[in-house]
């Protein structure tokens, strides 16, 4: 049986390190990938992820059981990432986005269309995937956060709103904008 986050938090606070280990395992992959895509730098993502986990452990007493642990730990990560942006003066737009390589976007759209109307999770080609990451890197951090929380955490609007401390309406509008922008990149009309 999978224990809820709050139970693991309570046990950690009671001195059970194994409980925090379980929390770590639960969040390691999705949180790391969230940070990695958000900062666009694998090395920096390692530092931020590590610091997020350490800080989460040390500040665990400040987390209010009954709220949302996932939102709480993501807020820590986002704040650390913001500090990283400030330190570097700007978001390190991914080297993918800085690529000067150009391609026929219309052909790309056609290629995607040929893949048929299948599930949105259908595998995309390597080149298409690269362009998606390129499109993501062009989004503002605010829009990117919303997309990444949905993609890597499977968060619904309400959870994203809780995580980012913004109204659901703002989540919806940011999601709409971000999805639309990604769509634009792919259909060749940015």
């Amino acid at each position: 049986m999978t224990l809820p986050d709050d139970v693991l938090v309570e046990r950690t606070l009671a001195g059970d390190t194994a409980a925090f280990s379980a929390l770590y395992d639960r969040y390691e992959r999705p949180l790391f990938n969230f940070i990695n895509q958000y900062v666009g730098d694998y090395e920096a993502a390692q530092d931020i992820f590590q610091e997020t986990m350490i800080r989460a452990y040390r500040k665990l007493g400040r987390y209010q059981v009954g709220t949302n642990f996932s939102a709480w730990i993501h807020r820590i990560a986002i704040n650390l990432a913001k500090d990283e942006f400030k330190r570097k003066k700007r978001r390190p737009v991914s080297n993918i986005a800085e690529s000067t390589e150009t391609g026929d976007e219309t052909d790309l759209f056609a290629a995607m269309a040929e893949e048929g109307p299948g599930p949105e999770t259908a595998l995309l080609g390597k080149d298409t995937a690269r362009r998606v990451r390129e499109g993501l890197a062009r989004l503002t951090p605010d829009h990117m956060q919303v997309i990444l929380l949905y993609v890597f955490q499977g968060m619904a609007y309400k959870e994203i709103a809780d995580t980012l401390c913004i109204p659901i309406g703002t989540v919806k509008s940011r999601m709409h904008y971000a999805v639309k922008e990604l769509g634009k990149v792919l259909d060749g009309r940015p």
Binding site: Q37, G61, L124, L136, I147, C165
Partner: protein, 229 residues
């Protein structure tokens, strides 16, 4: 049915991997703009979901590094359950006496920001909240500050609380790890002088029980303001 509603509803369904509701079809059949927009949203969601393909594994040894760092933490961590904000103010008062001023000052900014967040939930203090939001938001270089300004109050309030949360987290860190320079930077960051002014307004508007608290916090904020170079 409005286009905006159709597009919002369509996006929700696409994100959830569901079929579009039958009720949207008449509109979509008659509205080219919405049809095109929904097609683009489908493409965008598909693109977004494809990012999962590029998920990477964290480097090996990461967990060990984290747990080694945790094991080397001072005894007693993680911290015990957080005290209420009233208790926190009491503890902070004690801190000022027994701790070096800069560290205590940072703690008081933390408490003050928290109290402002609580106290400004009421509509009466909207103006003060908005002022503080701006001073905090500017210090955090919130990129869409101007856009937020045009939005409804509820949005402003949420943005303000968001900025306060950011500031709180930053100050929590500073209060624990900070040196004098960091504390000064943090004090500048939350525009302590502006907070002092806002607390004067809060003192006037606060119920009797909280007025003394606001007054105390203001006093310490003035101390913080004096720290600024």
């Amino acid at each position: 049915m409005r286009c905006e509603h159709v597009q919002d509803r369509a996006l929700e369904c696409i994100l959830a991997g569901e079929e579009l509701p039958v009720g949207l079809r008449p509109h979509l059949e008659s509205c080219q703009e919405c049809t095109a927009e929904v097609a683009r949203l489908r493409l965008g969601v598909r693109a977004a979901k494809s990012l999962r393909q590029s998920a990477v594994a964290p480097p090996p040894g990461m967990k060990k590094a984290v747990f080694d760092a945790i094991a080397s933490a001072p005894a007693g961590e993680p911290a015990t359950r957080r005290a209420s904000w009233r208790e926190a103010v009491g503890a902070a008062c004690h801190w000022l006496v027994v701790r070096p001023l800069p560290v205590a000052a940072a703690a008081f900014v933390l408490v003050a920001v928290t109290v402002v967040g609580v106290a400004t939930n009421g509509s009466k203090l909207r103006k003060e909240a908005w002022e503080i939001h701006f001073s905090v938001a500017q210090s955090r270089a919130v990129p869409d500050c101007e856009r937020l300004e045009r939005e409804e109050w509820i949005q402003k309030q949420a943005a303000f609380l968001n900025a306060v949360n950011d500031a709180k987290l930053q100050l929590q860190i500073v209060a624990v790890d900070g040196d004098l320079a960091t504390v000064r930077a943090a004090a500048r960051g939350v525009r302590a002088r502006r907070l002092v002014e806002s607390f004067r307004a809060i003192e006037n508007a606060a119920p009797e029980g909280d007025r003394r608290l606001a007054s105390e916090v203001r006093y310490y904020l003035e101390e913080i303001a004096n720290l600024q170079p």
